[in-house]
Symmetry: none
Subunit: 231 residues, 4 copies
DNA sequence: CATGAATGAGACTTCATTCAT
DNA sequence: CATGAATGAAGTCTCATTCAT
């Protein structure tokens, strides 16, 4: 039962150990996505990764550890790709919209990663903090640019994150199509005090979304602190 | 290890069976709130309820059954109390704000119920449908009254629910005080196209919130279908 | 869930206690027949009998006790009816054949009783001894009459009983029709040394078989020791 | 509590996993023999095998699986040894008698295997079919050779099997000695229409019975379909 | 590193049996 | 007598984790 995914692809030229580890991570993503974090079992992850169950413990202390690693690297990978897509954008509203739409596009292109994020978000507080910090940069920028009238604080950031996750879940369930990203962007911009008509224009403007790029980050990179938003 | 809660209080004058059942329900709420639905175990519920583990199965088929019963009755109880609090209100924006604030007040007054709702919402689709239908009534009314410009559909309702749950979680974690309800109300009203200044006024107007009333509904009431919002 | 059967019918004019007991016995027969003795549960018997589970213990010490009572009474009832059917027959070969055929007819007419006998035979050694003693009488008579050349001892009686039970099971499963009784009779007679042609004639001679008569014996009758065969 | 038996002996030079599996199979035989299939518990099997209860599930899916494996291997082992013992015999009556006597000798030499067969025969329809097919070959041969006048069909085969099992049970209970096999052989031969005197001669002729040979078959052998009788 | 058998705690569930009403 | 809630032992099975190879 061989799950092969982005991590394995990334590690294809590395040593055997790194490749085994990568296979485990791909398998973990698949299992978290399918069963949720709680119901995921180490044995099942090992089975999907085509390694003996004991091998899991050579690479990870326990289920929490692999979940943390997986979500961390997914988040970083997404952040990197989103960053690239936004490098030329200055306007904070556009940046936010672009980031949100790009985020959902990436997640939709790799539904297992999307579901894994959703289904282990509760168990990966690290992820939350990371996404908050990415997002905060653009929201603060918008306030400075006079675009957003709403005060930015952890509460509102949490609220926005929950909206984006909710929209992502709807999209992945198939309840809504790719317009989900624009819809939620528009809602958030309005909520932040951005003029309604412009919110609509920005959120629905045609943009080029990057497809999914499997060049995931190397293991244990220096934590990124780029002044930018994940979403 | 005796957990005593609203259900036990409600059942204190009923027969022995009803009292045991109520103890189990209170215990289930406590465990769901603390551990989440998945991690909750029947044995632990029985232990908290101070009954033998076999006793659980005298009253409920399995964990799903008690969860369904518990969420159903919490939701109905909340709905009833929120309804009462709003009986005199006609304006849809006020109704929404009142419902949301009342909901969060009730949940905050009984944090275990609040956490239980949050942590088993994923596993209680019934609850979701119920809350959606309660909320939809007031949102549609607002559209008819010309207060909301946003089109109401399942996507936006889901989004609003996720915002409210997110705010509730923040409140229950203690990250934010009782202003959480007003803040999220205001955000939602803005998002729906309600004028910003009025949104603020409505969301922050002083209102009398009912405290928690433990008169939970009797078992198996006729399902409420009142044209009103749970939140 | 009301099972009503021969015992209930028999007890319809007795006191309430006797009727409850009778309902339990009918239910026990049904459950033993359907699930086998091991898999039968007291709760299920009580449920089928439409009484509370505690009521079972008012009437029977445990599952063994009801099984013993039930098989004892079925066996006695069958014995009584078989006796009646054979009262005029003197020839031992005819008696054996008649008894066997009558036995299988009764069991087939009341398949639950038949299955219950088969499926609890292992657990009711009493039944075995009883059937052995009934059968022995006719076999010994056959030897005295010079019809059977085979020595009669517990081994051969056991063998014959197992043949009859095997044939009964085949009949109740529907693998074979009502000829099962004649076939097994013929086989046994041959085996006992009875001339082949006569064995065939006796085993297949048309006889009048009594239908099932629900007048089961009163409770705890003096054990019958009539010099006759159950089968 | 260490049960050691033929399977363990057979596996003594194999890997650890095979040895544990063999211990479980020996233990299962012991428990089935002692308690019957229904009453046997996985925990008890593990206890007798001196392994943790979880270990059982490393080797077998459930009780059915180990029962199927055990009966399959016992049956094949018996069949192989019986085949060997009969390789030179052409006469169908002799073959039947030899097979029956050899079968009972093997079972009596290894009473746990005998009891296990008896007590799980009901739950192993596979076993029944296998024995039927082995036996059928010799019975049909006897008809072709003009030795048996009785028509061979599933009903009579079932009947014969029940006789043999009944005799085996009597032998294992100690109610009868090693003459049981000859007695039941003679009875069956008579029943099949084989001349009485010859039946006696064949059934009681001195033959060399192989003792029990613990070289059980390797796991998953090609199923034997030799045109011969198990009994 | 990789393996995979073995472990044993613990989850779920059933059920014979008791006992207060 | 009848009830049926309550009990707790016992059974089934899963799973994170360890360890010898």
């Amino acid at each position: 039962m061989n799950i092969s995914g982005p991590f394995a692809l990334e590690a294809r030229n590395l040593g055997k150990s790194a490749r085994t580890r990568a296979r485990l991570m791909d398998a973990a993503v698949a299992v978290f996505a399918r069963d949720g974090f709680e119901a995921a079992s180490v044995n099942e992850i090992a089975r999907l990764a085509d390694v003996a169950n004991g091998t899991f413990y050579v690479h990870f202390k326990d289920k929490d550890a692999i979940a943390a690693d997986v979500t961390f690297r997914i988040a970083n990978d997404f952040a990197r790709q989103i960053d690239e897509a936004m490098s030329q954008i200055e306007d904070a509203a556009e940046r936010f919209s672009c980031a949100t739409r790009q985020f959902m596009e990436l997640a939709a292109a790799q539904p297992r990663w999307g579901w894994a994020l959703i289904r282990s978000a509760w168990y990966a507080p690290e992820l939350h903090r990371q996404m908050e910090s990415f997002m905060r940069a653009d929201l603060d920028r918008g306030v400075k640019q006079g675009l957003f009238t709403r005060t930015i604080d952890p509460f509102i950031i949490d609220t926005i994150l929950s909206m984006i996750f909710s929209a992502l879940a709807a999209r992945l369930r198939g309840d809504v199509g790719e317009e989900a990203a624009s819809r939620v962007s528009e809602l958030v911009l309005c909520m932040l005090g951005y003029p309604s008509a412009q919110a609509h224009a920005v959120a629905w403007s045609p943009i080029v979304l990057k497809g999914f790029n499997t060049q995931v980050l190397p293991r244990d990179p220096k934590p990124r602190r780029a002044a930018t938003s994940l979403v």
